[in-house]
Symmetry: D2
Subunit: 118 residues, 4 copies
């Protein structure tokens, strides 16, 4: 925090760090939107519990599960897009011969693979 030579990266990965105190520019600008989406998904999951509890016809429950999964995927996509825009771009600008960029792209690709495999 107080060292001179690594001001931005000391508490977190470059991207992550830059996401904090940046006011409206970074991650924090979308934070409320993300939380809103997640609260809606939480409501859907509670709705599923009610459906099971009330013995709703299983096909109708499955339809609601598909909607919740889709909402989660949508949330993941918006996070990922933000990540590419801010973190991967920041890594591309790093003057380290592409090392940081390589690491970020490998990491993002693994995250996309995990999303695809579910």
């Amino acid at each position: 925090m107080t060292t001179i030579d690594t001001p931005s990266t000391d508490t977190a990965p470059a991207c992550h760090g830059s996401a904090h105190g940046d006011g409206p520019h970074g991650y924090s600008g979308d934070k409320e939107a993300h939380l809103k989406r997640l609260r809606r998904i939480e409501g859907q999951i509670r709705g599923l519990q009610r459906m099971v509890d009330e013995d709703v016809y299983c096909i109708d429950i499955l339809t609601q599960v598909s909607a919740s999964t889709k909402a989660l995927q949508s949330f993941a996509l918006s996070l990922l897009e933000e990540h590419l825009r801010h973190c991967v771009a920041a890594a591309a600008a790093a003057e380290d011969g592409g090392e940081e960029l390589n690491a970020k792209v490998t990491e993002a690709s693994a995250a996309i693979a995990r999303l695809l495999r579910t």
Copy 2:
């Protein structure tokens, strides 16, 4: 079927109706297990909100989203398996020249398609 206090079961699909008061044979046997799973997923979604709120690194959030999506898909699969075992089988036994079975299979296939498309 003709009693006053069970109005909802007489118009419902065979499977749906049989899911009710059948004790350990039908849907109700797994009900508590289903609710447990859904409560765990609800906890995961609340965990996601905490992660967003605490500015956790987005790749770590994405990993948790993948886990939640996988848990939802697993829940859907267990519901679907139960449905095939009880409702589709019951429809196959119906002596109506396969009409009920046809309807149930078309319906189940549409549900599977929705799960795949998410």
Copy 3:
């Protein structure tokens, strides 16, 4: 196995056996449609090779990959629907206390899980 009244089950699982010489009733009725779909998908994959060979922009290649994956999923869904209609239904009719049905549903559910995980 050698009784007179169940000739179709002696060489294979009920469904599988009935898929063969049954003329228009079973699997064979849709066979040409299935082959047509698969030939179209094969053409799409060859199209992808051409695109890579001609250095087509990668995002356009990805769009074509999505189309091919969707076509494969569609093919899988139509096979699965047929399977549920014929094989699972046949198993439900077997007078063995549900053993055959149980096995078929477990097997179909595992296949659906594999499709979902890809």
Copy 4:
């Protein structure tokens, strides 16, 4: 870039253009690997046709469909990773106030969404 015989690269998107005559650094380095993968997938699709033609049990066909879908997704992921590494990074380096980067990230995100939806 300024030679006469490569007219197509100067109007193409930055990434696309840079993918061409760059020798082992760009897209072309992986081209043979991509084509090899696609040829293997083409072989799988032909194998599926053989299976349908020989009335193979449908569950076994579905298993093979899952393998082909997975192989296609894997191919897409490797293309995407390459795209992020080269094209998105190149866009991040463009001195146009982030316009090119924004366009590339939006485009890549849409491609990821299409892959997820299949």
